[in-house]
């Protein structure tokens, strides 16, 4: 028998004591490939107009993306929430019209000469 069902006393709590299904209202993960970790998120400028009460975790995300663009991975890193949870919360926030998500180019970035030149120039400027 697998011991996967036994509770492991050594398990370390790395996050909130609130179960994640409570934070996310029991919502499932958004479809695969949505909210890729480098997708950039920013708050809608007129978010003050919205009346919806946000969960503390949602509010934390809104605070992070106010007036700037932040990658999904960075939101996860700064809120200390697992990436999957952040994705669910972002789906809710986008659905409510609170955030804008700039999805990365679907593919072939590595074949985009103009983009690569810009990356190269940027790297050289940092090193200079």
């Amino acid at each position: 028998m697998s011991d996967a069902h036994d509770s492991d006393p050594e398990v370390e709590l790395t996050s909130a004591l609130v179960p994640f299904f409570v934070i996310t209202n029991g919502r499932a993960l958004p479809p695969d490939q949505q909210y890729e970790r480098t997708a950039l998120v920013t708050a809608h400028q007129d978010t003050a107009a919205t009346a919806r009460t946000l969960a503390p975790e949602e509010q934390a995300i809104m605070d992070l993306v106010a007036n700037r663009m932040l990658a999904v991975a960075e939101i996860a890193g700064r809120t200390h929430l697992p990436l999957g949870i952040v994705r669910i919360l972002l789906a809710q926030l986008e659905e409510s019209g609170l955030v804008l998500v700039r999805k990365p180019a679907p593919r072939a970035d590595s074949k985009d000469r103009e983009l690569l030149s810009a990356v190269l120039e940027g790297l050289k400027n940092i090193g200079a």
């Binding site: 950039l40 200390h80 804008l100 590595s110 990356v119 940027g122």
Partner: protein
């Protein structure tokens, strides 16, 4: 209403290599922010390999991954993701490699054999890569040609010396990767 979000673009590069090779140090040195971690769940088979009688059960493990950020211009942000090199993380590789510019493989010249499984993953996911040979002050620099030969690399694949603790040296390895990507377009 629409914020002018279309002007900002993000790109990513993976920093890969065997456990303990210096990926975290590397990211810490080039990132403009204190490196962050994402926590994510991976599923893996939990039943012994000799059990053929039933479908393996899946168990969930949480892994923490380091990443850093480099703002390259007003319109361009580069994220650098440290990616664990073990086969069991291939689910994550699938997502991480999607849309990535390429990978920087960091190797320890004293333990080159540990790089093969990582090299295998890099190639399987079709990532263009450069190799950074980590060297430490005081140790003899390992001839880069020997590394190329030992890893059986394509003659065009850049192999550069890379002190992961030195920002300039670390940046240089990324630059070699991007130059290599551009040369492939010619």
């Amino acid at each position: 209403m629409y914020l002018d979000a279309d002007d900002v673009r993000s790109v990513k590069v993976l920093v890969v290599g065997p456990f303990g090779v210096g990926k975290t140090t590397y990211i810490g040195n080039i990132s403009e922010i204190e490196p962050l971690q994402t926590e994510e769940e991976i599923t893996e088979a939990s039943v012994g390999y000799d059990d053929l009688s039933r479908t393996p059960e899946k168990t969930t493990t949480t892994v923490a991954m380091d990443f850093g950020r480099l703002t390259l211009s007003d319109e361009l942000v580069l994220y650098v993701f440290g990616t664990p090199g073990q086969e069991r993380f291939k689910e994550m590789w699938e997502e991480l490699s999607r849309g990535a510019l390429g990978a920087l493989l960091i190797v320890d010249p004293e333990r080159l054999d540990e790089s093969f499984p990582v090299l295998d993953l890099v190639e399987r996911f079709g990532l263009t890569y450069a190799v950074g040979v980590n060297h430490f002050e005081g140790t003899t620099t390992y001839p880069l040609d020997e590394v190329r030969e030992a890893l059986n690399l394509h003659p065009d694949t850049p192999v550069v010396a890379c002190d992961v603790r030195d920002q300039k040296s670390a940046l240089q390895a990324l630059i070699a990767l991007v130059q290599h990507l551009m040369s492939l377009l010619d």
